[in-house]
């Protein structure tokens, strides 16, 4: 009996082995930025619909992890939400690896208030002070005399981490600035949208994709966020989302990168609340 079951199992699993090998060969390995892991996954899903023969595996772990994997030759593409650091390039040269950069998407984070709020622009320093609790009242930044209700994403969000590093800490990793304890931590971008819609004293931030005409985006250092200003690099709270490969990618990997940068790939970028490169 047991023998029968076992042989049945073998027979049934045979096609899996055969087609598993013949169909895909080695999967494209993509590793890196946690911010980009969902985007990479979305690309991979659509890509595999068009190229069923090429499996794609996407994992996170952080931009640094992605670069480290590229240097040890254990990934085809490193996803990175920052540029590769000179130290990493030096290390790569030593290992005989030549990182090649592909700019695949942009990430813009809008700072929003209720449309009834008359504050239209803030500097990054003012934003830092608002989110770290030094500025507590709207009148300190040209608004009416009203306590500021500060909204942030939860700590499980890449946006939270980016905002913390680039706005609250003003880009200085060693800065002692933190989100003030009284900052409300919202579980989703949608929750921030709801609170901004109903609260004239609230300020919050989220990906450009969430912005509707019920919220007012604040000009940061005099620049209003838009797909255009983010693309041109004028808007200060934005960053490039990058792929790194070792030298020129092989044909399979190239087809994936081309797909990500194609019109369809860039539509996915927009759908995932990031900013397309064109």
């Amino acid at each position: 009996m047991l023998k029968k079951v076992f042989s049945l199992f073998l027979v049934l699993s045979l096609p899996v082995f055969i087609f598993g090998c013949a169909g895909g060969g080695k999967a494209i390995q993509i590793k890196g930025s946690d911010t980009m892991v969902n985007l990479g996954q979305a690309w991979a899903e659509e890509f595999m619909k068009e190229y069923p023969a090429v499996p794609v595996a996407v994992t996170g772990g952080g931009s640094g992890t992605g670069i480290a994997a590229l240097l040890s030759n254990s990934t085809d593409i490193a996803q990175c939400s920052r540029q590769i650091e000179p130290k990493e390039i030096a290390l790569a040269k030593k290992k005989g690896i030549n990182p090649k950069e592909f700019h695949v998407a942009n990430d813009g984070i809008v700072v929003v208030v209720n449309p009834a709020n008359k504050v239209n622009k803030l500097s990054t320093r003012q934003l830092s002070d608002i989110f770290n609790g030094k500025i507590k009242n709207w009148k300190e930044v040209g608004g009416k005399n009203e306590d500021i209700v500060v909204l942030s994403r939860e700590r499980n969000s890449g946006t939270h981490v980016f905002f913390l590093e680039h706005v609250v800490k003003l880009g200085d990793k060693k800065s002692p600035n933190e989100f003030a304890p009284c900052v409300l931590m919202m579980p989703s971008s949608q929750a921030i949208v709801e609170e901004i819609n109903g609260n004239t004293a609230a300020i919050g931030y989220f990906g450009l994709g969430y912005l509707t005409n019920k919220q007012k985006a604040v000009a940061v250092n005099g620049v209003l966020p838009s797909v255009k200003t983010v693309t041109l690099g004028q808007y200060p709270i934005s960053r490039s989302l990058l792929f790194y490969t070792n030298d020129e990618p092989n044909e399979k990997v190239k087809s994936f990168i081309d797909f990500a940068m194609s019109k369809k790939g860039q539509e996915i970028v927009l759908k995932m609340d990031f900013v397309p490169i064109r």
Binding site: V149, S157, P181, M185, P187, A191, E195
Partner: protein
């Protein structure tokens, strides 16, 4: 053959009974294993009594006192709202309501237990929070009070059904004696029946607390999640459960942040363990009375 069958059934039932205890023990061991790893890096007292929760900063700070206070405030508020309401409802259902209304009310209250907590959270964020903001002129309605009100609804079914049970098990002779001595219906209820049902009521309060402390989704959505030391119910709070739920997704496994979330799990486990023990003690007293009745 028959004996064998009985033996197998007996053992199978025993295993099912033992399974839940085994699971609890295994879960606790797992929690301990993952959570205690934190205390190699973080001082136990700094964890329990620290006032700053900055788990992803450099250097990180793992003070959960604001989180404990957050849970305490939300729970306290919920119980203050739910217990009088639940007690009144239970008295009405068991002592006053005519038979036809009684069944209707009971199933209505049980239906309340069937509402998913995320739905209550959604109602809270869309309807309750703006309302509280306008009533109390707050900066934002996402406060401990909003959480308390929503959790009161969640605890209500538990509280009502256990108090009702306790009132029904008060021996009939108590009430009849009171009435015979010339007490009015209301006097008999609050001078005789309620005191006699006191341990059941306490058990209901305890189980209500247990229900509220462990609730996650609704509080995550409507309490604002700011890790401050609260001084009033009109401030935002961050509860123990919401912290674990919000941060587990991104915590790097094996980091002290990850271990700290399991350590919070241990704290929650111990809290509900203590609450359950108290509830059990009170329930036993209430049952002892039920036996006397027979």
């Amino acid at each position: 053959m028959k004996n064998l069958f009985e033996f197998i059934v007996e053992k199978a039932i025993f295993l099912s009974g033992a399974a839940s205890i085994i699971f609890v023990v295994l879960i606790f061991i797992f929690l301990l294993k993952e959570g205690l790893a934190l205390f190699g890096e973080v001082n136990f007292f700094a964890f329990l009594f620290g006032q700053n929760w900055y788990p992803i900063s450099d250097p990180p700070q793992f003070g959960i006192l604001p989180l404990i206070m957050g849970s305490v405030f939300v729970t306290f508020g919920a119980i203050v709202i739910a217990v009088p309401l639940g007690l009144a409802a239970a008295i009405y259902i068991s002592e006053v309501a005519p038979h036809s209304i009684r069944g209707f009310l009971k199933s209505g209250i049980e239906l309340l237990a069937a509402i998913p907590s995320i739905v209550l959270g959604f109602i809270g964020i869309i309807f309750l929070a703006p309302l509280l903001k306008n009533i109390f002129h707050l900066g934002s309605g996402l406060t401990a009070l909003a959480g308390s009100i929503m959790l009161a609804f969640m605890a209500l079914p538990t509280i009502v059904s256990i108090i009702e049970d306790a009132i029904v098990s008060v021996p009939r002779s108590y009430k009849e004696g009171a009435l015979a001595l010339g007490a009015t219906h209301w006097q008999a209820i609050y001078r005789v029946t309620i005191p006699a049902a006191a341990s059941g009521i306490l058990a209901a309060v305890m189980l209500g607390i247990g229900r509220v402390v462990g609730e996650t989704m609704a509080v995550l959505m409507i309490t604002g999640n700011a890790a401050i030391m609260p001084t009033s119910l009109l401030q935002p709070v961050r509860t123990l459960t919401a912290t674990v739920a919000a941060e587990m997704g991104e915590a790097v496994s094996g980091s002290s942040h990850y271990y700290s979330l399991f350590a919070i799990g241990i704290v929650l486990f111990i809290i509900s363990f203590i609450i359950n023990i108290f509830a059990d003690i009170f329930l036993h007293r209430s049952k002892a009375m039920k036996r006397r009745k027979k």
